[in-house]
Symmetry: C2
Subunit: 343 residues, 2 copies
């Protein structure tokens, strides 16, 4: 199996994606191509040995061959025409916009490229925190009470402390805990910097958080359950360092019953919607009840450090990617209209 | 203003889109280019005078110049290189898959093309009937009770008569009214032909149906409210003929109060989600209450026949398209990591 890792993208998490790709390179046993999507949405084929953060920040990547996305794959211009970049499956490793908002999925679908990552619907449902809540409620999975505010409607119904989150970002970017009214304006300014809609939730001190990653192939394969270290909450800097994580972390110290509950919630969330993706669900547990906090359909470095045998997980997933529906294009109606008109 | 109408696509409604584009050509006062997306997802630049159904069914379109979608637009190969097809705004007129499922929106966003049509999120929410229901419920708009069934879980909770709809199709394709258990198996076979998930609703005889189209520019512009002619329900053949409609229909005979209710529901549905699109909402009214039936983000021939002055509506919309967020790509973190490492 030969993979092409697609990373970068026009996203607030552009740098995170670079770090994530470098981390993944270290743990993958497979042959890999690296396709970088730069700030102008140009694709570059980066040599494996050049996968270093500095190559991107210094713009050295621009020396690498440009690739064009077309039907069937990524193509490189040659003297005689063009040649296709040879791989079996693309891995969507763009975090945030472009990668997790459905754009990359749509490109892969439209241009008939086999890929690992969320499909368009799954992207939209997980990227927009309101839609995640509506989906959770449909699945009968609890989530924290919430409201969506805009600049025109800033009337917050919760008492402090509250937590503000841009509606469509991951990685804690733009997120603030607001303890009192003095802190509110600044937190609003920060959040609205990143989105025109902001999610408000009551902030619950000392809430238990558990992360569980997994895939569905013939059956579900789960990662260990991690209890992330929290200092109030993980801010961007700390989460950023997590993205470069390639070491396994310690399993959360929970009983079998809670483990089962978390895995069952994961199965419901994954459903058929996330087929083709390796996702990480971040859950809260309050009084023994599981709450869905968020769904990461392209978690940092694919949460490789949470799996016993990450390479095998990727292999299993690769053999069970959803197939696009074959829609036959026929001209029955036009033919019948024409014959009715005697043409 | 110069438009490019993009139509065709790999969709069960491919033919409908062709008819729709031909209809639109007749009513538009603007200069227009026509871009056909064929069954292989190749784009062709079709000469305006050749916009006839037979050109497509006979494959004559293949004689026209091929276009490649790239950053900034559609390009045609020339002897000396390539030239861009000259237009200001693309109009997404692909019905069903490709056009209304978020793929075309994603392509336009990714390649920086200004367009009229639903954005990626709006596409997913309107294309998937379950997500439409969840969205309606969030907006506090009623919709008919429902359940989603799969081949593995065919346990229907409603009494006959029921209506079965593939979860992700428009134009009544694959939809059946099932009056008793004898008719069920065939209806299931038909519905599952088009989707792996099927929506089941109780079928309500003689329900009042009203269609309302509109846009948001500085303020909302509404079409007249149409009461579609029903013979039980509009089947594909009849709806198909509707797509070629360029004549205005009669306004529904309803009082001002109901009209206001319908327009207010439309406003809520449109919200900020559908900015950039001309949508048609199909509502039911039961005991004076408005129910959302479906959202058509690319209605047949853009429902031009429902508007007093369709060309002006399009112009208003063109001047109020949502802008993509400008996301700056900086390498602050990588620089700081490198300097911490002394590099």
């Amino acid at each position: 199996m030969r993979y092409a890792i697609v990373f970068g993208g026009v996203s607030y998490e552009h740098e995170i994606s670079i770090v994530s790709a470098i981390a993944l390179k270290k743990v993958l046993d497979f042959e890999c191509e690296f396709i970088f999507c730069d700030e102008f949405r140009e694709f570059y084929h980066v040599a494996s040995e050049k996968m270093k953060a500095k190559v991107f920040s210094s713009k050295e990547y621009k020396k690498f061959p440009k690739l064009t996305l077309k039907k069937g794959g990524f193509f490189q211009k040659t003297l005689l025409g063009k040649k296709i970049l040879n791989f079996d499956i693309a891995i969507n490793l763009i975090h945030g916009a472009d990668g997790e908002d459905g754009k990359l999925a749509a490109l892969f679908e439209f241009f008939d490229i086999k890929y690992i990552g969320p499909r368009v619907e799954a992207s939209v449902i997980s990227f927009n925190k309101l839609f995640t809540k509506l989906y959770a409620s449909y699945l009968d999975i609890k989530s924290i009470d919430y409201q969506v505010i805009t600049r025109d409607n800033l009337d917050i119904k919760f008492k402090f402390p509250i937590i503000l989150k841009p509606l469509r970002l991951g990685s804690s970017i733009g997120v603030s805990i607001v303890k009192n009214s003095d802190e509110l304006q600044y937190a609003l300014d920060v959040a609205f910097e990143f989105d025109d809609e902001v999610l408000v939730e009551p902030f619950i001190e000392g809430i238990k958080e558990y992360n569980l990653a997994g895939i569905k192939s013939n059956e579900f394969i789960f990662s260990i359950i991690e209890e992330p270290i929290k200092e109030e909450f993980l801010d961007f800097d700390k989460k950023y360092l997590n993205f470069s994580n390639t070491k396994r972390v310690n399993e959360a110290n929970i009983d079998e019953e809670l483990k089962q509950k978390l895995q069952n919630s994961f199965k419901k969330v994954y459903g058929s919607l996330f087929e083709g993706a390796l996702i990480r669900c971040d859950f809260f547990v309050i009084n023994g009840c599981v709450y869905l906090n968020e769904i990461n359909p392209n978690p940092g470095s694919y949460s490789n450090y949470l799996f016993e045998n990450f390479n095998d997980v990727l292999k299993q997933l690769s053999h069970n990617l959803p197939k696009s529906k074959n829609i036959p294009i026929e001209y029955g109606y036009i033919h019948s209209l024409n014959s009715a008109k005697g043409k």
